[in-house]
């Protein structure tokens, strides 16, 4: 990433600018009021702005989205490849389940289904990465990552406690 210079403008706001790979200088002037100006410096006179585009909050969002859009979809594609073949699901823990009241270690769900419980939602609270001593309670929702078959199996376990698989 190019080095961005930050300049305080007393009474006005802050100016950020950098030189693009192509050698053009562009910048953004953030007024204290939150209004922004997009600055495109002049080729002939590099100290002056050849053109200035005024952006209100909405325009700024639109422009940022347009400039960021391709990057975001590229990143999303990467992310999907990483978890190809895996499913994430939210599974309720029923009171009838044999697992309800048991710790994760006792339930040994990962060794039996190959699915990891990455978080548990309890009421308004979310417990990330619960440990082996974590006790599942009826009404919890387990956030599980695994193969579609494994998830299906885990769903059965958390409902009845009866194994559907081998």
């Amino acid at each position: 990433m190019a080095e961005v210079a930050e300049t305080q403008l007393p009474g006005v706001g802050v100016r950020y600018d950098f030189v693009t790979t192509d050698g053009d200088r562009i910048g953004v002037l953030v007024h204290r009021t939150g209004r922004r100006e997009l600055l495109l410096y002049d080729d002939d006179d590099p100290d002056a702005c050849g053109s200035v585009v005024r952006l209100d909050a909405d325009d700024t969002h639109t422009l940022a989205e347009l400039l960021g859009a391709t990057q975001v979809s590229e990143r999303l594609a990467e992310l999907q490849q990483d978890i190809e073949g895996l499913t994430i699901d939210w599974l309720p823990v029923a009171a009838t389940s044999a697992c309800s009241g048991a710790t994760l270690r006792e339930a040994a769900l990962r060794s039996s289904t190959g699915v990891s419980i990455v978080a548990v939602v309890r009421g308004t609270e979310t417990i990330p990465a619960p440990g082996g001593d974590f006790q599942l309670l009826p009404g919890d929702t387990a956030v599980a990552v695994g193969t579609p078959e494994g998830i299906k199996e885990l769903f059965g376990l958390l409902q009845s406690g009866a194994r559907t698989g081998p």
Binding site: Q8, P10, V12, E37, D44, D47, C49, G50
Partner: protein, 401 residues
């Protein structure tokens, strides 16, 4: 006129005041259309309407005078609100050399011309102040209108404006003591007292500004506006009592406020400032006989040309220090030429104290000249740069400015 106005008296005062405000409204509209600062328009209106003017309206009541006092206080309050304490502090470190060059290059010519004209030393200090201080109001508007706020030479311009505003915090109290007169020793003691008072207020402002801001902050715009206004008037009044000058008191209140209170207050105070500042410029014009303006014109013109050149040199030098090329250096220099509200504030203090009969007319003519030509010169500065001997490039094509 006393405050206890009988109902019979109020009608003509209201009508008269209403007409004055309507005229000012028309002028503000004209100024907006033409892209000029309204200050010279208000001054001319005062000149035309005032005693000895074309119309000779007798506004010899205190209403406009009190309004103009409030105008000065609000002008300085909004100036203080422009900057946060942190901006002032960091700018003081970086901008000091340019600030000193600006002070010497622009105050000295004014003072020297005053002495050449045979004025007193106090009048020379006053005229030095008039020629020293650029109009931050006119200049920031011009920079925004010409899309120059993002330019790389602009920080050097803004830095000089900040230094000038800080200099006012020292200059105005010293001036207040000078205007009060007295012996040299008593004067020095008063100056010391005044500067100590400023230092104490500034210290309180920087240390406890956040507390004051929080105390004043309210969900209600009304409560915030009245709170800020009340505090400002009280501090300004107390400062005037201590001979620190009301204006400096108001300026320091503006600096003390910070955070959301500062931002909202500066928006809320602006319309009030516009009203009372208009009253102030108008009142200053009222006090000057147009017939006195003619003999003052020669001195004002000479002073305007001289100090326009010194401001250009100041900006040229300051922009050069941060590595700006010739066209940008000229833009910075010409941007600083405009004088306006604070030159009139300083001259107004002298006129009120009855220091030098010619000061008012000379300052009025001087500001009229530079408030109008300053923005014009900087608008054409890129063409000037191309015309300068040794200009490396062709002039920029029109429409691409």
């Amino acid at each position: 006129m006393s405050l206890a106005v009988t109902p019979g008296d109020v009608a003509p005062v209201l009508v008269e005041l209403g007409f004055v405000v309507l005229v000012l409204a028309g002028l503000a509209r004209l100024a907006d259309r033409t892209g000029f600062s309204p200050i010279p328009f208000y001054l001319v209106a005062g000149l035309v309407v005032g005693g000895g003017g074309v119309i000779g309206l007798d506004l010899g009541d205190d209403a406009v005078a009190v309004g103009s006092e409030v105008g000065v206080v609000l002008l300085l309050l909004t100036l203080g609100l422009e900057y946060t304490a942190e901006e002032l502090r960091s700018n003081l470190r970086v901008g000091l050399p340019a600030g000193l060059v600006d002070l010497v290059a622009n105050a000295v010519p004014g003072a020297v011309v005053a002495l050449v004209l045979g004025w007193s030393a106090t009048a020379a200090v006053l005229l030095g102040g008039v020629t020293y201080i650029s109009s931050s109001g006119v200049i920031s508007k011009v920079l925004a209108d010409l899309d120059r706020l993002g330019n790389r030479e602009t920080p050097s311009v803004l830095s000089i404006l900040v230094m000038e505003d800080l200099a006012m915090a020292v200059y105005l109290p010293v001036l207040a003591v000078l205007l009060a007169g007295g012996s040299l020793v008593a004067g020095l003691v008063s100056v010391a007292v005044a500067l100590a008072a400023v230092t104490v207020i500034l210290f309180v402002a920087l240390r406890h500004g956040a507390t004051i801001s929080r105390a004043l902050l309210s969900r209600s715009d009304e409560a915030l506006l009245l709170g800020v206004l009340g505090l400002t008037l009280v501090v300004a009044g107390v400062a005037a009592q201590l001979q620190v000058s009301a204006a400096v008191g108001a300026f320091l209140v503006g600096i003390a406020l910070g955070g959301p209170a500062q931002e909202r207050a500066s928006l809320l105070v602006r319309p009030l400032r516009d009203l009372f500042a208009a009253a102030f410029f108008f009142f200053f014009g009222l006090q000057i006989r147009p017939s006195d303006l003619v003999p003052a014109l020669g001195a004002a013109l000479a002073l305007a040309v001289l100090t326009a050149l010194t401001k250009v040199a100041t900006g040229w030098w300051a922009a050069g220090r941060i590595g700006i090329a010739r066209p940008g250096r000229l833009r910075a220099g010409t941007a600083l030429v405009a004088r306006g509200e604070f030159s009139i504030v300083i001259a107004g203090l002298g006129v009120a104290a009855g220091i030098e009969a010619e000061l008012g007319p000379v300052a009025a003519a001087y500001v009229l000249l530079l408030a109008v030509t300053g923005p014009l010169v900087t608008r054409w500065s890129d063409h000037l740069a191309a015309a300068l001997p040794g200009a490396p490039r062709r002039p920029r094509t029109p429409g691409k400015t």
